[in-house]
Amino acid sequence: MTRRLGLWRIVFVAALALSTAASSDTNSKKTKDNSQAQKSYERPTDPSLYVGSDTCKTCHEDIFKNFETTPHWKTTFTKKGPEWQGCEACHGPGKEHVEGGGDKSKIFTFKDKPAEQVSNRCLGCHEYGEEHANFDRSQHNINDVSCIACHSPHHAKEKQFLLVNKQPELCYGCHTDIKQDFNRPFRHRVEQGLIQCTDCHNQHGGFLTKQLRATAAQDQVCFKCHVEKAGPFAFEHVPVKTEGCASCHQPHGSTNPRLLKRAQMNLLCLECHTLTQDSSVPSLPSFHNQSQKYQACTSCHVQIHGSNFDEFFFK
């Protein structure tokens, strides 16, 4: 009871502090510089500050021609104000830039800008919906990785999602330690193109650790493909549901069959199913002679992920 009170106290204090900070902020006026660092880029609404995309084209013709082939072109059709249209929807009003003879300091350029400022520009349109809703708290954002680390609006190698490279090479660019996982003999078929990193992880952030996605029923993402192991079962193998698939499997790839964490199946089982003072997990019976067939646990306990017909997962 005391522990529960402690948890709720922490949540309450945190929520109070956050809401106080937020509400006080809504009443304050910010300078132009500060507004760039704010959560949402606030677009100036004065139409006289804007010159239109055709003006940009006169100097940036190559970029404009490419821009015309990208999904962002649809911004030119919007009936909202000029601050939502074409080049200036992202780069901000261009009048000063034009009048300055192309002075780069008079317009927002994404290059060399802090990641948060870059991302804020993009999220102004792209934040809404579950896919991007948690980018603010994503591992990418808090590690100063902005949208343009993966997307290139003007120089995308991949037309789909304007990516700078295709998956999984794009992800390997930073996550160099993961490539070797998918080159092990037993692995998920990421290198073969069957599944992609983003099938399991939400690259834009999420509520679960490792930015994992979940099934529609809010179960482990593994069950999206491995549906027969999802259950619910009359007899559940408890750690499958409480500790997750990764308690026995190495999810990316393994040197061991079935992506298991141990080369010898019986060791994997024995590490938990051992008579011990510190666990109520059933221990192995005395007739499970490891020099005989009993070393091959799953030749009998076939339905090890859960069964509807046998408490020992025989069938």
């Binding site: 060399d112 037309k159 490539k179 078929r189 938990c272 051992t274 008579l275 070393q295």
Partner: protein, 802 residues
Amino acid sequence: MRGSSRSRPSRIEARPFTLQNRGMDSGRFSWLLLAAILGLLPLLATGQTPNPSPEGVDNGNYKYQGSFEFGYRFVNTNGSQPVYDTFVNQQQGPRLLEQTLSMRSLNHEGVLFDSLFLSSFGWGGDPENATRLRISKNKWYNFNGMFRRDQNFWDYNLLANPLNPPNPFIQVNDSPHEMHTTRRMYDYNLTLLPQSAVRFRLGYTRNNMEGPAFSSIHQGTDTILFQNTRTLLDGYQAGIDIKLLPRTNISYDQFLQYYRGDSSWNDRNFAFQLGSGSPVDAGMIYNPTASQPCSDTPTPIFNTTTMPPTLKATCNGYQGYSRFAPVRTSYPTEQLTLQSSYFRRLDLSARASYSSAETEVVNSNELFIGLISRTGQRSFDVTGPARARRVVANVDFGVTVRLTDKFRLTDSFRFSNFRIPGSWNPLTLSFFNGTTPASMLNPIVTFDPAVCPANPAACPQHGNSAPADVASRTNSRFLGQDSKYNTIEAEYDFSKHFGGRLGYRYGHRTIPVRWTTTTNELFFPTNPNRGDCVGLPLNPDGSCSFSGEIDSEDDRIEVNEHSALFGLWAHPSDTLRINFDMELFSADNSPTRTTPRNLQRFKTRINYKPKQWVNVSGTVNVLESRNNVTDVLHREHDRNYGFTLALDPNPRFSFEFGYNYDDIFSTTNICYVIGGTVPPGSTLCNSGTPFLSGISLYDNKINFGYMNFMFKPAKRVTANLGYNLTSTSGNTTILSPTPNTLGPLGFSFHKPSAWLDFDLAKGLTWRTAWGYYDYNEKSDPGPLPARDFQSNSATLSLRYAF
């Protein structure tokens, strides 16, 4: 089981290809490869211009761009075909290797769509195929469709193998769980009015897996079953997004998933006969000293003078087995999400969902005919319903507050509660011989009160280990988990080049586990006072009844978890990026012995790009965890170090090299039983004989390296050389005496490759590609067939792009 004296006809169904018709002999292969390469050389002399990037074709209101690559793959494999198929499974034949098509409206106002993108690969027989389609029309809709098909071939003989001692009768040389299944996944998503304040989303997914496989069943002895795999999941989604306020979105989604599991199992492995000539399955275990399938004395298990060999009728054996249990599960889920940055310095996101899944097995039937010598059962039939529910309530909440331009506070809270009550109520009818010892040659005798127990010879014969003749059980199970996690972090940007964060995560989990098993049993004579009926009075007909609870448990695990979080990022210059993350975790309990009570995680990533064409990356990823309580002493680590170097100075040359070292280690105290006699000098566990105290050791060192070298020796020629090597070494505790193999803990897997592209004409490219797979285990495979293989594959293809 490819035994010397045993055929396995059902295996043929599981693998329709044979070694002979899958590959080519190496001589023919070499000639073909040489001919293909030589045939292309004259093309070098022609004076065409190199292939420009395809510009597409304008037709009507659309610009079309696309490509397709069609070719033929030659494959030649030596060594273990089953393991090649398990790891690689690329076979010979014509292939549509790659295809893309994009259509873009020139005026961005197409009639049905503004843009379309279609891509495919692997069609024609590769183990992985996919087709992806995206269509959109500005303001009206976005459609994403995807179809994926993967063949899952599995025959790795070390897993689930009983590892019989060498014998002339039963050898399990292949995986008892061999499979050749195909999974087809369909995903379709449609968003209507994607740019409106109110938008609608519809989705449909299907996951279908079918194919032959093998499974096994444990009765008197274990045997291999043919498994006709058939599972299907249909998922539907309908959702709506509403933007009532600026920078605020509310979504509601309704999901319905429906699962059908129609797999069935039966025994088709009747490779022996009884003395009567009727076929019988002796199972996959052969260890007479352990009485599997029975003792070799006083008479041998098999009479080898007959064809097929005759099995001793008092052995464990199968004369028939079938199981059919269609599973139906529905998963309705509703979800409400909120995302808002309405307040300028506050970003929040929340999600609440409720799911109530229900599994039902209405009609199930398991029928066994044969002999279980321990219990004397000659047959049993199990029927009954099973049910389970999974009720899940989740609430997630995340908020970021920008206290200043450089200082942010983030908080993420997660509440998740699931409960899974389940029940299985089987009715089991067991049948016995009228004679002892039980024999598969003797008929089954049913209980007839008119003659039994008055005439004991007319009764079914029951030993003390015989189960009830009629048993109706109620198994009730409950598993739940209530978890709450809260993560709060303070982030500070010291400058535009350097920032960090400090945080704390608290978690609390409660895991209740309960079960009860009650039974109503009827024990017929002879020997009705056996099992649960020992000491109970008999019924008037001489039988004995028992009703009551035979098993129960009520357990509850509580865990409090604490994590300190720390992170740094730095961009000292435009060319250098450094990230560091750290987590220090502590818990006061562990639900399993290997769940850590203490954990430290350190991650460092460095990326250095001194020139536009030079990219150097390095990672250090260290995980240390422990459950250091008495008599568990679980320790493990995963230490990963790697770097890559990529040089891309000009379009005519590029080079990439990477190396990674992974050190995975684990040790845990275990108790186990090995042999009937405790070896001298062994340390016993606290539980005493026959449990021995030991250490489960797992030590795996994995070296991985790769390189790619691309160069253009001539304007129309592009060459690529690649090499990919995984090499492992290590050690592990081996409790089974045979085979004494490290198996996957010590191997080298070489994958060199090369391809050569010739630009024949504008948009037309001829490619000659070669790949080689060389898998070698470093330890003796033991009595099982070696798993090593070498495979050449050559692909000749023509690519056209426009």
